[in-house]
């Protein structure tokens, strides 16, 4: 995920104020994604368990084909030098590796939470829409977790 760094806000965030039509397009894409998460069943605690117990290839097939289609699309965009609808060149900011600790440790912590809730952030919101409203409490707790990270960030190894 592109988490905006405070230092590169002006560089990568130098975008025009979004007109409402562009913003509503993101809302509409979100609706499509919520439907996709539901119909693909990747938001199900049961599917996550099946995956982590290696008892069905389904989740791996979904992730692998998603990555393949996304990678081919990105390569295609670069090859053709496509631009955004508003005419900007398309760029994907690289993540800085550093010592890699944040990715290994943060990733493992997320993996624990992903398995306990049976849902990553997208599915948490989709589950609320699906009527598993107790996930509102999980989202609230995730906000506390993110906030605490922000507070102690200067003291964590990156």
């Amino acid at each position: 995920m592109s988490v905006p760094q405070a230092t590169n806000q002006t560089a990568s965030g130098d975008r025009q104020a979004q007109p409402w039509i562009a913003l509503s397009a993101y809302l509409l894409l979100g609706v499509c994604f919520g439907i996709t998460l539901t119909k693909s069943e990747v938001l199900s605690w049961f599917r996550i368990q099946e995956m982590l117990r290696f008892q069905s290839p389904r989740m791996y097939e979904i992730i692998a084909s998603a990555v393949a289609v996304a990678a081919a699309s990105v390569a295609f965009i670069r090859r053709l030098g496509l631009k955004t609808v508003s005419g900007e060149p398309i760029t994907i900011p690289p993540k800085s590796l550093g010592r890699g600790i944040r990715y290994a440790v943060g990733g493992t912590i997320f993996g624990l939470g992903w398995t306990l809730t049976g849902a990553c952030p997208g599915p948490l919101f989709a589950l609320v829409g699906n009527g598993v409203t107790v996930m509102i409490a999980a989202i609230a707790s995730a906000l506390v977790g993110t906030w605490l990270y922000g507070l102690i960030r200067p003291r964590l190894p990156q």
Partner: protein
């Protein structure tokens, strides 16, 4: 084709559909597909306090992401209401393994013994929802992304930090599945 609306999508529809959100967001406005930064933007919008990590213009960088997330919730609602409710067709082996962990209700998207408001104050409900949610929020912020940002966007762009993060996701997942779930479910 008629049951495309009601039935679960096969993997070869579901996976490519998920992958297409990466080019769609890039073309729409140079946005990198990812959900967990919405948590940071929400913190920034609600309680930025004096924490430097939350002091930025969330409307400028994050409004699109918050709308995307609002859409996810609406999309989940729509999908739930146009299809018939059905159980998730997990493998028999998984069903047996989960039954040994005292999970017996296989209706719905997540075990009803755990993921209801009334179960929230039981040990298994609290650990699954509250502790699990907390670790999701802390872990994604620390790792700088979740399944969408690292496993899909990052791997598709061949970024090594994302590969490390994804290995971490599965390491944490396996630890939780084999060592934590048996302790409290």
């Amino acid at each position: 084709m008629t049951n495309f609306v009601t039935a679960a999508w096969p993997w070869y529809v579901a996976g490519p559909a998920i992958g297409l959100f990466v080019p769609a967001l890039l073309i729409l406005g140079n946005r990198v597909f990812g959900v967990s930064s919405s948590l940071r933007h929400l913190c920034s919008a609600i309680v930025p306090s004096r924490v430097e990590y939350f002091r930025y213009d969330w409307r400028r960088t994050g409004l699109w992401n918050l709308l995307f997330v609002a859409g996810i919730l609406i999309g989940g609602f729509l999908a739930a209401h146009w299809g018939e409710t059905r159980n998730i067709a997990i493998s028999e082996q998984t069903r047996l393994a989960l039954a040994r962990l005292h999970v017996h209700d296989f209706s719905g998207l997540a075990p009803r013994e755990v993921f209801t408001w009334s179960a929230l104050l039981t040990v298994k409900g609290f650990i699954s929802v509250i502790l699990g949610g907390f670790l999701v929020g802390f872990g994604t912020a620390y790792a700088g992304g979740c399944t969408s940002g690292h496993a899909i966007s990052g791997l598709a762009d061949l970024q090594s930090p994302s590969l490390i993060a994804v290995v971490g996701f599965f390491a944490g997942g396996l630890i939780a599945t084999h060592f934590l779930l048996p302790l409290f479910l």
